[in-house]
Amino acid sequence: MAPFLPQEIITNILKRLRVKSLIRFQCICKHWKSLINTPSFIADHLHHSGSHNHSIIFHPRQKGDRTLHFYLLDCEMQVREVQKAPLMDYFARDAAIVFTSNGLVCVKFDNHASCGSPPRLLLWNPATRDKGLVPTNINDFGDQFSWNKIFVGFGFSPIINDYKIVMFRFSYRAVDWVELYSLTSESWKEVKCGTLAGLMNLWDQTVTANGVMYWFGWLERHGSRDVTIVSFDIANEVFTLIPSPDFYPSPYSSTLTVHEDRLAVLSLNRYQSKSIDLWVMDEAIGSSRGIRSWTKKYTCVFSSYCFVCPLTIWRNEIFCSGVHERPENVRLEPALFNLTTNKIKLGFMDTLCNLGHHVAYKYHAFNYVESLVPIGGTKF
């Protein structure tokens, strides 16, 4: 007969299981159900999942109200479609992932109400299929001109153990309103943005690492216009402007990412259009003081490509989309470039085609780990 295992061993076994199995095993008994739902087990499971089940969630850029499909590239290099949040069918107009953190995905989509109004936000855990709309923010930006631009960021701070969403509004080429939502308090509040003088605009894409959110932005000072990096410390709620590396700034060919726990920039080489540079910031992410400098770590040459667009770094692979010159045809597809072997892995498009997906010219890709983390607040 098998011995009775102490809880310590049971926890160590359960933390290795996929979320799908754990949801099933909640039906074993009351004790297991409560164990699987305790914050400490959820944290243990996330920690294990983070070091073993790293994957990428990606979706084609969506325009209008075509149905949005999400795909997952898992640690065994398999691509599959993610069961989408059911309400995406109602709201999904110009929908896009803002960012993912600890298995939670923040999705924004257009509000039909009026031009220039803020997007609606959805928090979604694809593994547990938990989902909920974030309450509407304080300022509805009503009666505003349609050239107001709104940007969103989402991330987790281990210091305060909370998730926050930041929403910026730019009006007449300056930040005029910033709001912050906390998952713990379940409410929005206005935050000061005095340090952002001269910031004219942001790029859509954002990353969060070690409790700090980052965006690229355009800064106008003394008559010249330069690219800058805006950082937001989630715990202290402080904005800082960081100099960017010496790269060719373009929202279409550059992206912020995280490499070995440091903020990194993937960007098309200024002189060679088939090369991507990886720049890494020489300062541990999270510290708000100190001198930051950028080092170019790799230059990856995509010789058989006529166009390439970096999306994110995953393990030691650069995930990108590009137009590949194949002998038989020219086509655009997501690809992986291995930093160790300098080899390109192709062929995800075949899987995507089999899943009924059409070719897109732009993808959004985010590092993702599945987790049991609850979205909190009102569910529906």
Binding site: M1, A2, E8, I9, N12, S21, F25, Q26, C29
Partner: protein
């Protein structure tokens, strides 16, 4: 410590004697302490008892002897690859029969590598099991009322209590 000692004798909880080499015993902190006690003790005839049954102890010692050369000296990547394959074969065991005993022993003997391997093996086996199969091996009774089961089914469509 006398350098001539190459193996020590230990007793299982069933009272059977087992020999374990010094280098293999180093994989476990408690075994290593026992080893030092035996070597430093004036009374070398005393045989320490390990609270693990004979069937399990055979497997634990087999694991230690296999892993000792790598743990003590480091090894090449090809060795690591070979050892991984060996681990997979080694772990092909019956859950009811021995895997849970190995888990208990590895935890008790502070053997990180074996504990990790056994936990992973148990997790991999559980993936393919039904809820009632799992209740059986873990000696668990279904203590949900029918209302609670209904509620869980509503929350997670497709949940099964069997």
């Amino acid at each position: 410590m006398s350098s001539s000692v190459e193996a020590i004798t230990v007793l299982s909880s069933d009272g059977d004697e087992f020999k374990i080499t010094v280098s293999a015993a180093k994989l476990s902190k408690p075994l290593n302490w026992m080893l030092e006690d035996v070597c430093f003790s004036d009374d070398c005839d005393e045989v320490p008892t390990i609270e693990v049954n004979s069937k399990t102890l055979v497997k634990v010692i087999e694991y230690c002897e296999k892993h000792a050369p790598r743990a003590n000296s480091g090894a090449s990547d090809s060795d690591a690859e070979e050892l991984k394959k060996w681990d997979i074969e080694f772990m092909k065991m019956d859950v009811k029969d021995i895997l849970f005993h190995i888990l208990m022993a590895a935890n008790y003997l502070h053997m990180e590598g074996l504990y990790d391997l056994a936990c992973q093996t148990a997790a991999d086996l559980m993936k393919g099991m039904t809820v009632s199969q799992i209740r059986k091996i873990f000696h668990i009774k279904n203590d949900f009322s029918s209302e609670e089961q209904e509620q869980l089914r509503r929350q997670h469509p497709g949940c099964s209590f069997d």
